[in-house]
């Protein structure tokens, strides 16, 4: 039987990516934006795995990178959440639309 091909994976990851991108650009809550970023990262990781599986099964690089991505995403989430907590304590909300102190 025909399993899902490379194209399926790519389309799926592209969808994932676009959802993440859309979330990043539209969500006003920082936590929601962080979640969107995670989606984008996962889309990239999925691409790596798919390419590894279908095109370069012998090359270990494709398998190692997702692990890196997961590790980095975890570290990122830790740092970001810490910042968010500090930010929340400082201004009582996490709305990006209202945080514009860098306005020119």
């Amino acid at each position: 039987m025909n399993g899902p091909t490379l194209e399926h994976y790519l389309v799926f990851s592209a969808l994932l990516f676009c959802i993440g991108l859309y979330g990043m650009l539209t969500r006003r809550n920082l936590i929601a934006m962080l979640m969107s970023v995670e989606l984008v990262l996962n889309a990239a990781a999925l691409n790596f795995v798919a390419f590894h599986h279908f095109l370069f099964p012998g090359d270990s690089g494709g398998a190692v990178f997702p692990i890196f991505i997961i590790a980095v995403a975890a570290a990122e989430a830790a740092v970001a959440l810490a910042i968010f907590i500090a930010l929340f304590r400082h201004q009582q909300h996490l709305d990006v639309q209202q945080s514009d102190s860098l306005k020119g």
């Binding site: 650009l25 990006v96 102190s101 860098l102 306005k103 020119g104």
Partner: protein
């Protein structure tokens, strides 16, 4: 080196007064009045001794030669063009050394009495020394450059001395005027010097006046105007001479210069500095004589000034101003004499130098006498004087001698020199000039005796002033007496024997020329006698009858007003002020505009920086999308196109914001007030 000590050490002549200036000005001034004047006078004595010694040695051993006993390279312009400083010895420089050292020494002595008690006494003597230094440097100059240098220095010492009473506003404007007018004339001199430096390729007088150089200059045609270099450079140099000698139309500074102390008027503005112009033309005589237009310019300007100034002198009431206009007129005489001389018949040259010498004596005497009068009555206005002969006997006697000399009454000195000028005019066929000079002689006699009668005869007009008048101290009257001697007798010296160009045949007195001159002079005296000997209403009635002309003459033909209008209104208001405006608003405005456009663009672009995280993200994504597109297509053209579209969008935003800003004027750019 000539082996004659005085001639070889002529450089000491200007050096002594210079040392005197430095010493008095820097060291001795705080010590008090007496030491200052003593040092200044000693410097002058030393200078006069060397000067007289050199002149004696020159006229006995080297008469007629031109020597340069000492010179050094002062400023090298290029390997071929060198500005030398040195000492040039010939008949006229020796003559001027005699005149300058002598008169200057006498006036130093006179000033001891005249300036006594003045708070600026030491300063006065240091300035007098400075002036004498500059004048002697000018007289002995061996190159045009040196002449120009000392020319400017006499100008500045004249400025300092006219402005000696610096707290007096009239003196301030007078000294400014004198300096700027002569400076303007010196521009001509400078341009002449530049022409000579280029076309003659040398600046030394011995080189410039040599026949070869003159011929070379005459052959050189200028790239523009089509004339040869000779007349143009000569006329330009004459501009400088005319400024310093106050020839029309640059004469306006001299009458105002009478604001200075009277000894200064005598020394600088009568006897020495103002003849520098005549001296310069005489110094470059071969150049002038070789060029018809130049020599004619000298003659006509001299003749016109002689008449013009004499006419004005008739209507003036300030004793020093009358003398000033008389000086103008006599300087015109000297110029005229030079103008009628030619290389073949150079009698005018001798006559001019002769008149320069006698004029220096009698005009110095007149000014010093006037100073003595002013010292006694404390006014310059002749209408407040009168009858002073009883109060000031010595002044009166010496003044009379000087008046007779200037009026050309034989056997006083002025008669001989004036006669020689008239003879020179006739000799070279300038009959019109001769007639004009004769007329001026009559006018001269008239206005001088008008002055004399109004001051010393007539009746005392202001009894208070008359009552307090007294004869001046010995230091002043002795100088008057000493000066009266050459004033009376100098005419008897066989002048042409010593100072001449070319071969001068013996020239006796031609009574056909001298006769009318004497008659005209006597007639002038007689008219003055009738009008002014006793107080009567006649002069006023005449003035009333011709009131229109009289007023024009009295107001000096409104030339001062014309100058004032041109300088103050035209140049100051319509040239200089617009330049100032242009600089602040256009040139500087352009710079500010550059700065402000940077500011404005920054201000517009800041709208793109919203502070919102997601805006940045959007830009970043759009940018990477564009990049991805370019890389994907690998087409440079597309890349450029997209870049331009992007830049266009940014520029559009920028422009839109700018328009908005212009429309709203919400936040006008703060412009800092400037000068």
């Amino acid at each position: 080196m000539t082996g004659h000590w005085f001639i070889d050490h002529l450089w000491l002549v200007p050096l002594f007064p210079f040392l005197g200036f430095l010493l008095v000005g820097l060291v001795i001034r705080p010590l008090g009045d007496r030491p200052s004047s003593t040092v200044a006078i000693l410097a002058m004595v030393a200078s006069a001794v060397v000067g007289w010694g050199a002149a004696f040695q020159y006229f006995t051993h080297h008469a007629g030669e031109t020597l340069v006993p000492w010179q050094y390279e002062w400023l090298r312009f290029s390997p071929t063009l060198v500005g030398n400083m040195g000492v040039l010895v010939d008949d006229i420089s020796m003559l001027l050394v005699l005149v300058v050292t002598t008169i200057s020494l006498l006036i130093h002595v006179y000033s001891q009495g005249y300036m006594r008690g003045d708070p600026g006494y030491p300063r006065f003597f240091s300035f007098l020394n400075l002036f004498t230094f500059s004048m002697l440097g000018l007289v002995l100059a061996c190159s045009v450059l040196q002449m120009f240098i000392f020319w400017e220095l006499v100008g500045v010492s004249s400025f300092l001395l006219i402005g000696f009473y610096w707290a007096k506003p009239s003196a301030v404007s007078a000294c400014k005027k004198a300096f700027i007018v002569t400076r303007f004339a010196d521009l001509g001199f400078l341009l002449g010097l530049l022409m000579l430096s280029y076309y003659a390729k040398g600046l030394d007088f011995t080189f410039l006046t040599s026949p070869e150089t003159v011929a070379k200059l005459a052959r050189t045609t200028l790239p523009f105007l089509g004339v040869s270099a000779l007349p143009l450079s000569a006329i330009l140099i004459f501009c400088g001479a005319a400024g310093k000698s106050a020839m029309f139309p640059l004469h306006i500074w001299l009458p105002d210069a009478m604001e200075g102390p009277t000894p200064v008027s005598a020394l600088i503005h009568a006897a020495t500095m103002v003849v520098a112009g005549v001296y310069l033309v005489a110094r470059m005589f071969p150049m002038f004589a070789a060029s018809e237009p130049a020599i004619l310019t000298v003659m006509s300007i001299g003749a016109f000034t002689a008449l013009f100034a004499a006419v004005i002198a008739v209507t003036q009431f300030d004793i020093k101003r009358v003398l000033a206009y008389s000086t103008l007129s006599q300087l015109g005489y000297m110029m005229l004499a030079l103008g009628v001389a030619t290389l073949d018949k150079p009698l005018g040259f001798t006559a001019s130098m002769f008149h320069l010498t006698t004029h220096a004596c009698f005009k110095a005497l007149l000014f010093l006498g006037a100073g003595s009068v002013i010292h006694a009555v404390h006014t310059n206005d002749m209408r407040e004087m009168g009858g002073l002969r009883r109060k000031l006997p010595i002044t009166h006697a010496t003044f009379l001698i000087a008046c007779l000399a200037i009026a050309g009454v034989p056997p006083f000195s002025g008669f001989f020199s004036k006669d020689e000028i008239l003879a020179a005019a006739v000799e070279n066929g300038h009959y019109f000039v001769f007639a004009l000079a004769l007329g001026v002689a009559g006018l001269t006699a008239f206005y001088m005796f008008r002055l004399y009668f109004m001051t010393f005869w007539s009746e005392p007009q202001d009894h208070e002033k008359y009552h307090h008048a007294h004869e001046s101290p010995w230091s002043m009257t002795s100088v008057l007496i000493v000066l009266a001697v050459p004033t009376a007798l100098l005419g008897l010296v066989p002048f042409g024997h010593y100072v001449h160009r070319g071969e001068l045949e013996h020239h006796g007195i031609n009574w056909l020329i001298a006769g009318p001159a004497i008659l005209v002079g006597l007639a002038g005296i007689a008219v003055a006698f009738m009008l002014y000997f006793r107080p009567n209403g006649l002069p006023d009635r005449i003035a009333f009858a011709f009131s229109g002309i009289y007023r024009v003459i009295r107001d000096k033909f409104y030339i001062d007003e014309l100058y004032l209008f041109v300088t103050h209104h035209v140049i100051f208001r319509y040239v200089s002020a617009p330049f100032n405006w242009f600089d602040r608003h256009c040139v500087d405005g352009l710079m500010d505009l550059t700065a402000q456009s940077a500011l404005l663009s920054g201000r517009s672009l800041r709208r793109t920086v919203t502070g919102h995280l997601q805006t940045y993200l959007l830009w970043a994504w759009l940018g990477s999308a564009v990049l991805a597109l370019v890389v994907w297509q690998m087409q440079a053209a597309l890349g450029w196109a997209l870049t331009f579209v992007g830049l266009g969008i940014i520029a559009g935003i920028f422009a839109w914001q700018w328009v908005l800003q212009l429309l709203n004027r919400s936040e006008p750019l703060k412009r800092i007030e400037k000068d």
